[in-house]
C-alpha cells in the first residue's frame, strides 16, 4: 500500500477544505487584520463562577486591594499586581439565570438562547450563544497546530427541570464557544491535556510513540470512512448533526498530527504537591504555557469552576463555592484566593517564559454578589505586560462615569467594549461585538492607553 498518497492524507486535505468555509463568522474580522499592527499574539480567558465579595464603592475598596486580605491578596503576594488591571463597573450577561448566561456569554457578551415560549417544552439539543473571544483570537492564526486549549475542573450533567427545560446545562459548562451552537468542553484531566499537546507520555521511545499515533489516526480515518457511507442514508437534519461529529474526528486527527510534530517542545513535569484541585490546575497551566512557548497554540481558556457544581478547591475550605456565595463570604474569600492565586501563578509563569508581553490574560466571573445574583460590577481582571505602554496595567480601570456608579447596573459597561478594545491589540478591528443589550457601544473601555 502506498504511503505517499494515503487515504488518510486525502481525507485530511478534504477536511481542511471543508473546514475553512465554515469559519464564516470570522471572515469580516480577518479581513480587517491588515488595518492594525498586532501587539499581542496570545490570549487566555479565565473564569470562576458565583462571584466574589465586593461590598460597594462606598467602602472605597471591594476586597480586592490585597491590603485588606481580600481575594486579590495573592496577586500582591506573587508580585504580579503591576501587570494586572482591575476592571470595575462591568456587567455580566444576564438573561435567564446569570449562572448560565453569565458563564456562556462571558467571552462573547451574548445572551444565551432559551426556550421561554408559550410552549415550555424544549429540545435538550437547543443551545445558542456566540463565538467567544478566545476563538476569535484563534482565528487570527488558523495554521496553529492546536487551535485552542480548554482547561476545567468538572462538568455539571444537569441541574433541575425548571432550568434544564429553559436553558442548556452546557451554558454553565463552557465559556468557550466555537460558534453560536458549539460550546467547547474543557479538559479536566492534566494527563489528557498532556497527551493532547504532546501526543503521548514521554515514557515511550519516539519510534513506538510515532507508531501508536499513526495507529490511532488510522482508526479515525476508518471512522470517517464509515461515516461517509452512513451519511448517504441520513435525513438532512441528522446529516447536519453527524457532520459536527465528523468534524470533531477530523480535528482530533489533526491534533494527533500536531502532537507528532511536538516532539522537540519542552515538556513540563507534572505537579505532584498539594491537593488535587490545585495540582491539576497548576499542571494544566504549565502545559498551556509550554504549548504557547513552543507556539503550538495561541488561545486557551481556563474555568476554575462552573459556579454551581461541587467546587471545593481544598479540604481546608469548609463549604462549596456556590453555597459560600449565598451564605458564607468568609469561605468564599478563601476559595477566591485559591483561584486568584492559581491565576497569579499563570501570570508569573507567562512572565518567566517571556510570554506575558505577547499575551493578554483575563479573569472574570458571572456575578458580583452571589446572594442576589447581582450582575453589576462583576470581578474582572486583565493582565499583560506592556511593550509600548499600550495598556493601563497595575491600576483600577473604571467602566462607569464615576467610581460610585459601579454598583449601578444601568451605568455599568458591557464587557463587549472591553473585548473590542482587546481585539485591537491583536490587529482585529471589529465594529461591534455581542448581542442585544450587551452589544458593544463603540466607546473605549478604558483599558487601552
Amino acid at each position: 500500500m502506498s504511503r505517499v498518497l494515503s487515504r488518510r492524507n486525502v481525507l485530511r486535505g478534504v477536511g481542511v477544505c471543508i473546514a475553512l468555509p465554515l469559519l464564516e463568522s470570522a471572515l469580516p474580522i480577518r479581513l480587517a487584520h491588515a488595518q492594525l499592527t498586532p501587539k499581542k499574539k496570545r490570549f487566555i480567558g479565565c473564569f470562576f463562577g458565583s462571584g466574589a465579595p465586593m461590598p460597594d464603592a462606598a467602602n472605597g475598596d471591594w476586597g480586592y486591594s490585597g491590603n485588606r486580605g481580600g481575594a486579590l491578596k495573592p496577586l500582591a503576594d506573587l508580585g504580579v499586581a503591576p501587570y494586572v488591571a482591575v476592571m470595575r463597573g462591568f456587567r455580566a450577561v444576564n438573561n435567564f439565570d446569570v449562572h448560565w448566561s453569565g458563564t456562556a456569554g462571558f467571552l462573547s457578551s451574548t445572551p444565551v438562547g432559551t426556550t421561554n415560549s408559550p410552549n415550555p417544552t424544549s429540545d435538550p439539543n437547543y443551545e445558542r450563544c456566540a463565538k467567544s473571544l478566545d476563538q476569535i483570537i484563534a482565528d487570527t492564526h488558523p495554521s496553529a497546530p492546536i487551535r485552542s486549549l480548554h482547561a476545567g475542573f468538572s462538568r455539571v450533567p444537569s441541574w433541575d427541570e425548571g432550568h434544564d427545560r429553559v436553558g442548556s446545562i452546557n451554558y454553565v459548562n463552557s465559556i468557550a464557544w466555537r460558534d453560536a451552537t458549539s460550546p467547547i468542553s474543557n479538559i479536566t484531566d492534566p494527563m489528557q491535556m498532556f497527551t493532547r499537546v504532546f501526543g503521548s507520555s514521554d515514557k515511550l521511545s519516539n519510534a513506538r510513540a510515532a507508531y501508536l499515533l499513526e495507529r490511532r489516526k488510522s482508526i479515525l480515518d476508518g471512522v470517517l470512512d464509515q461515516y461517509n457511507h452512513h451519511k448517504a442514508t441520513l435525513s438532512s437534519a441528522d446529516k447536519h448533526r453527524l457532520e459536527a461529529y465528523a468534524q470533531s474526528i477530523r480535528e482530533v486527527e489533526g491534533e494527533l498530527t500536531s502532537a507528532a510534530n511536538a516532539t522537540t517542545c519542552a515538556r513540563p513535569a507534572e505537579e505532584t504537591g498539594g491537593e488535587a484541585y490545585v495540582r491539576n490546575f497548576r499542571t494544566m497551566q504549565k502545559i498551556i504555557i509550554a504549548a504557547m512557548q513552543c507556539d503550538l497554540t495561541r488561545a486557551a481558556t481556563i474555568m476554575y469552576n462552573d459556579g454551581i457544581g461541587p467546587n471545593r478547591p481544598t479540604s481546608t475550605v469548609a463549604a462549596e463555592q456556590h453555597d459560600s456565595a449565598h451564605n458564607n463570604w468568609n469561605t468564599l474569600i478563601q476559595i477566591n484566593q485559591v483561584q486568584v492565586a492559581l491565576w497569579g501563578e499563570l501570570i508569573a509563569g507567562l512572565k518567566a517564559a517571556d510570554l506575558l508581553k505577547e499575551t493578554v490574560v483575563v479573569l472574570g466571573s458571572n456575578m458580583s454578589d452571589g446572594r442576589t445574583h447581582n450582575s453589576a460590577n462583576v470581578p474582572l481582571l486583565v493582565a499583560s505586560e506592556n511593550v509600548a505602554n499600550e495598556m493601563k496595567l497595575g491600576q483600577e480601570v473604571y467602566g462607569t462615569p464615576t467610581p460610585a456608579a459601579v454598583t449601578d447596573l444601568a451605568q455599568n459597561r458591557n464587557m463587549s467594549d472591553l473585548w473590542v478594545d482587546l481585539l485591537k491589540l491583536y490587529g482585529v478591528n471589529v465594529t461591534s461585538l455581542g448581542e442585544g443589550p450587551y452589544k458593544s457601544t463603540g466607546k473605549p473601555s478604558g483599558i487601552l492607553v
Binding site: R7, R155, V156, D164, R215, Y227, H230, Y245
Partner: protein
C-alpha cells in the same frame, strides 16, 4: 391465527400456571395483532394513537460501556470513562446533546479505545480465529470472520456493502501500517483487526442510534423493522445492544410480530428486571447516584433497598401507586438500625412487610439525596416530588426577586420555626406563593425524616419539634402516610408515571399539554383495567406494543 399464535397460546398457558396470570394472551383475542387489550375502551384508545417520532440520539456513557462490554464479552470497568464528559440528563433521564460530540468526546473515545481494543483483541469472544503466518493475512478468511460479525452486532443491523468494503480497507491499512513497525505476523494481524474494530467502535453507526428514513428525503410514517425494534427494547431494558435471543428474533424478522415482541418484552421484564429498574427507576428517583458507592456502605445498602423494592413492583404487577405505598421494603440489620426499627433483622437484605418504609419518599436513598449532608430542605423535597411524581415543573425564581428574597429572609426572627419561615416567604407576595404553594406543604410533610432518612421528632441543631402537619391542594394531612395516599390519588399521578416511562423508553420529550398525540398516549397508558389503575408492568407492555412505539414518523408529526 396461525401456527405462531398457537405456540404463543401454549406458552402463555404455561406461563399462567407458573406465575398465576389470568388467562391466555389477550393478543389472541384481537384481529389487530398490535393490541392485546380486552377492555374495549382501552382497545379503542390504542387504535387512536399516533406514530412517535423516529429516534435519533447518542449513546450515554453507560450505554456505550455496556454495549462494548457485551460485544467483547467482558464487563469493562467504569473507571475507563473517568475523564469523559459526563452524560447530560434531561427530564431526569440520560440525554446527550448532539453538541456534546465535540473534540473532547472524540478525544475521550479515542484514548479510551486503546484500552478497550487491548481487551477486544485478547477476547476469545471476538478473536474467533488467529493467523500464524504472513500468508494468512488476507482479509477474506480470519479477519473478515472476526470483523464483520462484530460490526453487525455493534450497528444492530446487517452491514451495507460499502460499510463492509470500508472495513476491509481499514484492516488492510492497519496491516500495512503495522508491517512498517512490526515483524510478527500475529501482531500485524492483530493490529489490522484492531484498526477495523476501532473504526466500528467510534463510528457514528455505533455511538449514535438513528432510525434512518427509507430515503433521505422521506417524510411520513413507517413501521420500525425488526432490527430497530430489537435495538429500542434492548436499550430500554438492558441499556445495551440486544442479547442473543433478541438478536435472533431480529435476524429472522419475527420481532415485528406483536406476539413475539410481547413475549420478548415479558422475557426481559422477568430476566433483566434488576438492570431495567436500576436504570429507569434509578434515574427517575435519582438512586442511581448510590450505585457506584462501595458495597457494604450504608449508601450502597440504600441503593439495594431502592432497586429491589422497584423490581418487585414490576415483577409482581403492582400499580404505580405502589411506588409510594408498596407495603414492604428490603432491610438488613444495618439499615434497620439506621432507620431505628425495632425487631430482629438478618444480615442480608431481606424483604420485610411494613407500611413504615419502602415507599420511595420513605427510602433512605431518596431522603438522603433530596437533602444536603447538613440539613433538609422542604422546598427542594417538595419541588422534587412535584417533578418526579406529578410531572409538574417548577420554574427557577426570577433573579429580579433575589433582593426581595434576601429582605424577607432578613426579616424573619431567628426564633422562627421552619414552618413559620416557609409561611413568611409564601406570604411575601403572589410571585413567591405561586410556586411555593406547590412545594412547601409537601416538603413540610416529609420533615419528619432527616437528611439521612431517619425519623425525627425534633431538629438536632435547635431542639425544636418538627412540624409535619400541612396540606395538599387545600386538603389537610397529618402524617407522611396520609401524604403518600393523597399524592397517589391525584389524577396526574398515574399519567406522570406513564410520562416518565415514555420519556425513558423513547428518549424524547413528552408534552401532553402541547401535543394531542402525547396526551392520547398518556391517557391510554394510564387507562384503568377492570376499574383499577394498570400495573407498571401493564403500562410497559402497553407502551412497547403500541403504535406510538412500533411505528415512527419522519420529518415532523402527522
Amino acid at each position: 391465527m396461525g401456527w405462531s399464535g398457537n405456540v404463543a397460546l401454549v406458552l402463555c398457558l404455561a406461563t399462567a400456571v407458573a406465575v398465576g396470570c389470568d388467562g391466555p394472551s389477550d393478543s389472541l383475542l384481537k384481529d389487530d395483532p398490535g393490541t392485546f387489550e380486552d377492555d374495549p375502551e382501552a382497545a379503542k384508545l390504542a387504535e387512536t394513537l399516533a406514530a412517535g417520532p423516529a429516534m435519533t440520539r447518542n449513546l450515554s456513557n453507560r450505554e456505550y460501556l455496556n454495549a462494548v462490554s457485551d460485544l467483547i464479552g467482558e464487563r469493562l470497568p467504569r473507571e475507563l470513562q473517568a475523564g469523559w464528559t459526563a452524560t447530560t440528563q434531561f427530564s431526569g433521564f440520560d440525554a446527550v446533546p448532539w453538541m456534546n460530540l465535540d473534540t473532547k468526546v472524540v478525544r475521550d473515545l479515542s484514548e479510551t479505545l486503546e484500552a478497550i481494543l487491548d481487551r477486544a483483541v485478547a477476547s476469545p469472544k471476538v478473536m474467533t480465529c488467529q493467523v500464524t503466518s504472513a500468508d494468512q493475512l488476507a482479509w477474506e478468511g480470519c479477519a473478515k470472520s472476526i470483523v464483520e460479525p462484530f460490526a453487525t452486532r455493534a450497528y444492530g443491523r446487517p452491514l451495507a456493502p460499502a460499510e463492509a468494503e470500508s472495513l476491509a480497507r481499514r484492516y488492510a491499512d492497519g496491516v500495512a501500517l503495522a508491517q512498517e513497525a512490526l515483524t510478527d505476523p500475529k501482531e500485524i494481524f492483530t493490529d489490522g483487526v484492531r484498526a477495523a474494530l476501532g473504526s466500528v467502535l467510534l463510528a457514528p453507526q455505533f455511538v449514535t442510534r438513528i432510525e434512518v428514513p427509507p430515503t433521505p428525503d422521506f417524510t411520513g410514517e413507517r413501521d420500525l423493522d425488526a432490527y430497530e425494534l430489537a435495538s429500542r427494547i434492548s436499550f430500554m431494558f438492558t441499556a445495551s445492544i440486544p442479547d442473543d435471543e433478541l438478536w435472533s428474533k431480529a435476524v429472522d424478522g419475527t420481532l415485528t410480530n406483536p406476539d413475539v415482541l410481547r413475549a420478548q418484552v415479558e422475557r426481559l421484564l422477568d430476566t433483566k428486571t434488576d438492570v431495567f429498574v436500576q436504570s429507569f427507576m434509578g434515574q427517575w428517583f435519582d438512586f442511581r447516584e448510590y450505585e457506584s458507592t462501595e458495597p457494604g456502605t450504608l449508601e450502597h445498602t440504600m441503593w439495594n433497598e431502592s432497586w429491589r423494592v422497584m423490581a418487585d413492583i414490576v415483577k409482581e404487577g403492582l400499580p404505580a401507586k405502589a411506588i409510594l405505598q408498596p407495603g414492604f421494603t428490603y432491610l438488613n440489620q444495618e439499615l434497620a438500625a439506621h432507620y431505628n426499627l425495632v425487631g430482629q433483622f438478618p444480615s442480608e437484605l431481606t424483604r420485610v412487610e411494613t407500611a413504615e418504609r419502602g415507599g420511595i419518599l420513605q427510602q433512605g436513598s431518596w431522603l438522603s439525596l433530596s437533602a444536603t449532608p447538613l440539613k433538609t430542605s422542604p422546598i427542594h423535597r417538595g419541588r422534587l416530588v412535584q417533578d418526579r411524581l406529578l410531572c409538574k415543573v417548577i420554574p427557577p425564581p426570577d433573579s429580579s426577586l433575589f433582593e426581595e428574597i434576601q429582605k424577607v429572609t432578613a426579616s424573619i426572627p431567628a426564633t422562627a420555626s421552619v414552618k413559620e419561615r416557609l409561611e413568611t416567604h409564601r406570604n411575601a407576595g403572589p410571585a413567591c406563593a405561586g410556586c411555593h404553594e406547590y412545594m412547601d406543604p409537601i416538603g413540610l410533610g416529609l420533615e419528619g425524616f432527616d437528611m439521612h432518612g431517619r425519623l425525627r421528632n425534633a431538629y438536632a441543631d435547635t431542639g425544636r419539634p418538627v412540624e409535619t402537619e400541612s396540606h395538599l391542594l387545600g386538603k389537610p394531612f397529618r402524617t407522611f402516610r396520609e401524604l403518600n395516599a393523597m399524592i397517589a390519588e391525584l389524577p396526574e399521578y398515574e399519567r406522570c408515571a406513564a410520562e416518565k416511562l415514555t420519556i425513558y423508553s423513547t428518549r424524547r420529550i413528552v408534552d401532553a399539554t402541547a401535543s394531542k398525540a402525547d396526551a392520547d398516549l398518556l391517557t391510554y397508558l394510564s387507562h384503568p383495567i377492570d376499574g383499577r389503575p394498570p400495573s407498571v408492568r401493564q403500562m410497559i407492555l402497553r407502551l412497547v406494543t403500541s403504535k406510538a412505539f412500533r411505528r415512527v414518523h419522519h420529518g415532523g408529526a402527522k
